[in-house]
Symmetry: C2
Subunit: 311 residues, 2 copies
Amino acid sequence: MSNFIEISEVGPRDGLQSIKRIMPLAAKKAWIDAEAACGVPEIEVGSFVPPKLLPQLADTAELVAYARTIDRLKVAVLVPNLRGAEDAIKAGAHKITIPLSASETHSLANVNRTHVQMLDAVRAIVALIKTLPPAERPFFEGGISTAFGCTLEGQIPEAKILELASALMEAGCDEVGLSDTTGYATPGHVIALVQAVKAEVGEQNLTGLHLHNTRGLGLANVLAALDHGITTIDASLGGIGGCPFAPGASGNIVTEDLVFMLDAMGFETGIDLDALLKVRDIVTEALPGEPMYGFIPEAGLPKGYNLSGTA
Amino acid sequence: MSNFIEISEVGPRDGLQSIKRIMPLAAKKAWIDAEAACGVPEIEVGSFVPPKLLPQLADTAELVAYARTIDRLKVAVLVPNLRGAEDAIKAGAHKITIPLSASETHSLANVNRTHVQMLDAVRAIVALIKTLPPAERPFFEGGISTAFGCTLEGQIPEAKILELASALMEAGCDEVGLSDTTGYATPGHVIALVQAVKAEVGEQNLTGLHLHNTRGLGLANVLAALDHGITTIDASLGGIGGCPFAPGASGNIVTEDLVFMLDAMGFETGIDLDALLKVRDIVTEALPGEPMYGFIPEAGLPKGYNLSGTA
């Protein structure tokens, strides 16, 4: 299906880590269950970080185990280091992403590691994965965060991004991704960087973007990326989340709005938008008063609009 | 300048007609003054409709006269009929737009006129314009509203839009425009309709779009249009406004966010964004408590970002 765009729901990880209150495990399970039932193909259910740093995600191992029982769902997690990867593998994650911040200043602030130290961790994780029988190996992505600029360093030179992308692939990652951690991306920059990274690491080794909507350009950036071989887009239900360590950064792309845009453009997502809109209730009931975003949830579908999945 | 995108500020018309309170004339003048000083090339300052229908815009004639005194500013107005056009010409507007709703149901609800009656009005206005010396003739645009769908009728067949576009040009308009009155437009639809209308009336006779952000796709729709020969985009400071007669429709494209996107993509707008952000104060002081939108005003420019006009 060349027309298929894979939406990766990151709300349970990227959304919840930005919210102080802890969502009860039962609500998280209900949320993941409900989104998977809507046809969402991949959900990032949590992050294997020390519970004292992110108590909101302390139940990630249980969530992975639970999500693994859901048919056809790809269960993704974030890990900051080898220890996290060990936990992720033990729990049974299908996909592991390690974020490598293009801004070394941000990397030090976020995980207290230099680029060299992060790449060492990547190699150690690859070595660990290789000890597993091939059928049990998780997909391992190197996610380059602050790829479109950093609130501390400003723009990161493209040469640095390309160097890191190469280094991640050489270290043994299955793929690299680009993250607009700070919401600095603009359509022209998305096109230029996607083209440059694909030229550096190979067309097939960059397929996914994690974009924010901090400056209102989230969907315009997706639109630009779709024309340049990007087929996986991260988004968060109700747009919750962002990066708590990048001051001023907030606002994931809203999954509901993204599904609408893709559907209206004739892309397949496999997601039932009407059903997805109802999943918001689970989040708002579990986190009353927490702001949820999204235009489609507020304005509704255009009169007479037939969702491709339901027409 | 092939790289120039003309932003037409419609806040004083489209924005203020949606707000019940009446902005004092002095504040309107200050707003128009300030935006023109930022480099905004065209401002739709009002609408020549009966004051009892839209008392918010009752001072349009005075505003046109005032705005005419501002160097290099193109002064645009909306007119619903011949009477409005007479007033617009008397006041000295540079550009007159008559909205023709593709949805006849909406046309009847909005101005109580059928398509035939509206086209008669267009011909009468053209006849009036032709009585003027060439140097004094205003530019006359036929704006097809609800072009991307109507909250009453749903989708309008493309054949109907093409028929109306042709009829407007045959009646003597200088150009047609397309308005997404209801916020139904999506990037694929924008591309398809722009291409179809250009093929129908000629490449040079459709250059402008009036898009809303009701479903969060405003800037993505602009991005799509830029690739297809659209060079004029309407927007509203703080995103105020929408169509008060189309239930549920709201939210113009935010001028500030649009300028940022275009600047970041290397387009010229002639607008000083830093200065534009300060103009919001004039509106909020004149209409305290009125919601103003925009991502750039909230998130600020990316660290180290150099505006092309100020670098």
